[in-house]
Amino acid sequence: MFDFGVVTNWIDLFLRSNMSENMALFVEFVLVGFAILAVYAVLALLLIYIERKVCAFFQCRIGPNRVGPWGLIQSVADMVKILLKELIKIDRADPVLFRIASFLVIIASICTFGAIPFDPALHAVDFNIGIFYLLAVSSLGVVGILLAGWSSNNKYTMIGAMRSGAQLISYELSCGLSLMTIVILSGTMQLSEIVNQQSEMWFLFKGHIPALIAFVIYLIASHAETNRGPFDLPEAESELTAGYHTEYSGIQFGFFYLAEYLNMFIVAAIAATVFLGGWMPLHIPGWEGFNGIMDKIPPFIWFFGKTFFCVFLALWIRWSFPRLRIDQLLHLEWKILMPLALINILLMALCVI
C-alpha cells in the first residue's frame, strides 16, 4: 500500500539535514502552500473538462474534442484565454470592494481545500475541530459573493447576491446538521480521526439509517451551497444575466469560476471523507482476503475515486432537473430538509446510546 508518507518524510529529512529546524519548517510551509495552489489550479482545469464532457454526454453530444486528444487541453486553452482578457473598469463601482470580493471567494475555497485529507500523509491542516473549521471557512465565501453583488453598481448583481446570501446561509444549516450527525457517531471533529474510525466500515454503513439520511441531506444541501444545478438561482442566466459576477471580466471572473468548480470538488471531498471513508479502502469485517486486496489500492486513488463519484452525482443532478423558484428553494430547506436533519440528529443520538 503506497502512500505519500514516503515522499513527505524524505523531503522533511532532506530539509532538516541541510538547514536549521525553523528554516526547514518555513520552507516546508512555503512548499505546502505552493503544492495546494498547484493542485487547486490543476483540479479546476480537470473539473471544467469533466463538467463539459459529462454535460455533453447527458445531452447526447460528444463535447470538447478538438484541442488535444479527446479535447483534453481544451480547459488549458480556456484558461490562457481568460488570463489574456482585459479587466474592465466598471463606471461608479466601488473599486476596492469590487477587487476584494473575487479574492474573498477564492481564499475561502482555498482555505477549505487545505483541510481535506487526500492521503494519510497529504493532510495540510488537521485541527481537532476539523469539521467546524471546514464549515466556518467555507461560509466565508458568502461575504465575497455579497460584496461582489453590492459593489458592481448593477441591479442584477444585487438581486443575484441577495438570493445567493439567502440560499447559502439557509442551506449551511442543514449541511452542518447532517455533518453533526456523523460527529455524534464518531465522537470527534478531527478529520484524520474520523477517517481512521472508518477503517472497519464506512460511516455510511456503520451509522444505519440516520447516516444514510444524513448523506442524502448533505448531498442536496451541499449541492445548493455550490450555487449549481437546480439551485443556480444566484446566476439564473435567464433572469439575471449572470447574477453576482455579471460585471466581472478576465481573471477576476476566472476566480469566481474557479471557486465555483473547486467548491463542487470540496463538498464532494467532504462527503467522501465523512460518509464514504475518505482515503480508507473498502473494508468488510470478517472478509480478510477481500480487505487485503482492497488495501493494495493506494489511498489517494480511493480518495479521488470516491470524490469523483460524488462529483458525478452532482453533475447528474445538475443536468437532470430544472431550476427551482426562490420560494420553492427556501421551502425545501426550511420546511423539509431542516426538520428532517433535526429529527435525524435525534435518531442518531438514540442509535449511539
Binding site: F58, C60, R61, I62, W319, S320, F321
Partner: protein, 152 residues
C-alpha cells in the same frame, strides 16, 4: 400524512428523471465529427445538396429549355438561356439549351424546380461542400460544354 406522501412521490419523480438522463448518458452519440469522417459517412440520398443536370456518356442531357424551372424558382436562382438552331431532319428552327446557370448562393433548396421539371432533366446531388472564396464562383453552368439534347 399528505405531507409525507408528497415527499415520497417527489423523490420517486426525481428518480425517474435521473433514470432518463442516465439512459441518455450511456446511449451512443449521434454527433458526426465532420473532417475526420469525411468520405466515410454518406449523407442520406434524398438530401438536397446541390442541383445537377445528369449527362449520359455521349454528353447528352434531357433539358429541352422549356424554362418551367426558371419561372417556378421563387428567387431567380435558375437562368435558362436558350438559342435557336435549325434541325437537320426537318430544316425548321428549334429552341435548344445554350446555358443553364444555377446560382448556389441564392438557392433555398425548395426543390420546386426538380418537382416541376417535365423531362426530369435536373436532380439533386448530396454534395454539400460548397465553400468558395468569392460569390461569383457559386454561379455554376450545369450543362456541359458542347452537350446536346438526347435524341428520341
Amino acid at each position: 400524512m399528505n405531507y409525507i406522501k408528497n415527499i415520497i412521490i417527489g423523490i420517486y419523480r426525481l428518480m425517474q428523471g435521473m433514470y432518463i438522463t442516465m439512459l441518455n448518458f450511456i446511449r451512443p452519440k449521434v454527433t458526426e465529427q465532420y473532417p475526420e469522417n469525411r468520405g466515410k459517412v454518406f449523407p442520406h440520398e434524398r438530401m438536397r445538396g446541390q442541383l445537377i443536370m445528369p449527362h449520359n456518356e455521349n454528353n447528352q442531357h434531357k433539358c429541352t429549355a422549356c424554362g418551367i424551372c426558371m419561372t417556378n424558382c421563387p428567387n431567380g436562382t435558375i437562368q435558362v438561356i436558350s438559342k435557336k438552331e435549325t434541325d437537320e431532319e426537318t430544316g425548321k428552327e428549334k429552341k435548344v439549351l445554350d446555358k443553364y446557370l444555377y446560382d448556389l448562393g441564392s438557392c433555398t433548396f425548395c426543390a420546386l424546380c426538380t418537382m416541376t421539371c417535365p423531362q426530369d432533366a435536373i436532380e439533386w446531388s448530396t454534395n454539400f461542400e460548397h465553400a468558395m472564396y468569392t460569390r461569383s464562383k457559386l454561379v455554376e453552368r450545369l450543362n456541359k460544354k458542347g452537350s446536346s439534347l438526347i435524341k428520341k
